[in-house]
Amino acid sequence: MTKRTFLYDKHVELGAKMVDFAGWEMPVQYTSIIEEHKNVRENVGLFDVSHMGELIVYGEDALPFLNKLVPQDISKLTDKKAVYCQLPNKDGGLIDDLIIYKLEDKKYLIIANASRVDEDLNWMSLNQLGFNVEIDNISHKYSLIAVQGPKACDLINCAGLIDLPPFFSIKRAELFNINLWVSRTGYTGEDGVEILVKNEFAEYVWDKLLELGKQYKVMPVGLGARDTLRLEASLHLYGNDLDENTTPVEAGLSWSVSKTKTEDYNGKKVIMEQLKNGGRKKLVGFRMLDKSIARHEYEVYSNGEKVGVVTSGGVSPMRGENIGLAYINSPLDKFSVGSTIQIMIRDKLHDAEIVKRPFIEKRNKV
C-alpha cells in the first residue's frame, strides 16, 4: 500500500504523472521534466517533498548522542543553524545522509531520506543505550514544501516573510498567517527555502504559493526534475551515490567531515584513516562525449578494463549534454579532471570525460 502526502489531490488536479517512490505516490512531472528543470534555474519551482522524514531528537544528552552518530561536530552548531551530515555504520559506510538543525539547546530537528527513515530510527535506537534522549518521529504530522530558484526569496518575501533565515539556517515564521518553519536549504543548487508546515495547512500554503507565485512564473516541479537538478548540482542521492558500502571520504564528502572533533563516533576509525590515505574508491563527475546517456549501475572502463560503476546519470538541461557520477576503484591516481573513461551502454563503449563537480555553478551561497 503506497502512502500519499497531504498534497496528493493537488498533484492530481495539476495533471501530474504519479509514480511510486520509496513507498510514496509522488508526482514525477506535471508538464515536462526539462521545462520544470529550466524554470527552477530561471524563475522558481514548488516541490512537494513531504515524503522526507522529520525526526526530533531532544533531551539532556541530545548533543552527545548526535555527536556519537555523525562525523560532523554538532557542538559547533549554534541555535537555528543547520549542518549537512552523514549517518555512518561502524565501518564508515553510510546508513543515510541528513540535515541536522539545532532548534534550541538540547533539541534538534533531523531531515532524513524517505527510503531510510525506518533504518535511521532503528540505528538510532541501537545507539541510544546510556543516553538520556528521546527520538520523536514527526514525519506523519508535517508536510515539507521546497521553494527553489532565483526568484524563490522574492516569492517568500511576498508571502509575508521579509527577513529570510541565512543560508543553512531555520526560523519560525508566518506565511499567509500560518505558523510554520522556514529553512534556507534545498536540493537544487539554487537559492531557496524549505517550508515545514503542519499537514492541515499544507494545501492552503501550496495553493497560496502557486497563486502568488504567478508573477514570478512559479511552476510545480516533480521528482523527475528534482533528480536532474540535484545531479547538475552534484548533490548525492542516497541509494544511488551513497550506501552502506560507501564512506563520506569515498563519496567526496571529506569537506563535510570534522577534522578536529575529539568525540568518538561510529565509523570514526575508518573515516579518519581514509582522510589521511584515501578510500577504496573515488567519486568522479563525467560528461558524455556523444549523445548517449549513462545510467545508474552502468560499468566504467579504461583501456579495456573495468574500473568502476556509474551511480547517477542523465541529462543536463543547462549544459545541453549528458552527465553523471561514477565510482572509480582502481588505480585512483590515473583518473583526474580531463581523463577519458568509457561507459558501457547496451554492450558498446562510449567515451566520457571526467569533469569538475558541480556541473553548474551553484547559486545558493548567500
Binding site: 514525477v28 515536462s32 526539462i34 548517449s292 546517456i293 541529462v315
Partner: protein, 124 residues
C-alpha cells in the same frame, strides 16, 4: 494517430502504406515516457524477427527498448527524429515513425496485433 494502425501490448505500432510498413511507438507510450532525449535506430537493410529489440529510446527518466511488432527488413530510417528526438514530444509534428520495413511474414504476424481502439482500451 491513424486508426488503421495495429499495436502491441509493449506500445509499438505498425501501419501499412503501399505494401510497406511504418513502425514506431504509440502516442500513449510517448506521453508516458515524457521528454524524449535520445533515439537509437538500426541501419537500413538490417533484418529483425518479430519481438527482437530494434531501437532504444531514452527519456529524461529512463532508457526503454523498442521491439519489432512483426518480422522484416529495414528499408528506411527516420533520421529527422534521431537528430531531433524532441520532435516526438511535439504534438504538431506528424512524422513520428521510427523505421519503414518490408515484411514477408506480415499476414501471419499482423493477426496477433491489436486494433488501435482495442489497444487504447487495454492501456487506459
Amino acid at each position: 494517430m491513424d486508426e488503421n494502425m495495429l499495436c502491441t501490448k509493449t506500445h509499438e505500432y505498425v501501419l501499412e502504406k503501399d505494401g510497406k510498413y511504418e513502425v514506431g511507438i504509440t502516442d500513449y507510450a510517448i506521453n508516458q515516457l515524457g521528454d524524449i532525449v535520445f533515439i537509437e535506430l538500426p541501419d537500413t537493410n538490417t533484418e529483425f524477427s518479430k519481438g527482437e529489440v530494434f531501437a532504444t529510446i531514452e527519456s529524461v527518466k529512463a532508457a526503454s527498448e523498442v521491439y519489432m511488432p512483426i518480422s522484416g527488413k529495414v528499408i528506411e530510417v527516420n533520421e529527422e527524429i534521431v537528430n531531433n528526438p524532441e520532435l516526438l514530444n511535439d504534438e504538431t509534428y506528424e512524422e513520428k515513425w521510427f523505421i519503414k520495413i518490408e515484411s514477408e511474414a506480415d499476414q501471419v504476424e499482423l493477426a496477433d496485433l491489436l486494433d488501435y481502439s482495442d489497444y487504447r482500451e487495454e492501456v487506459e
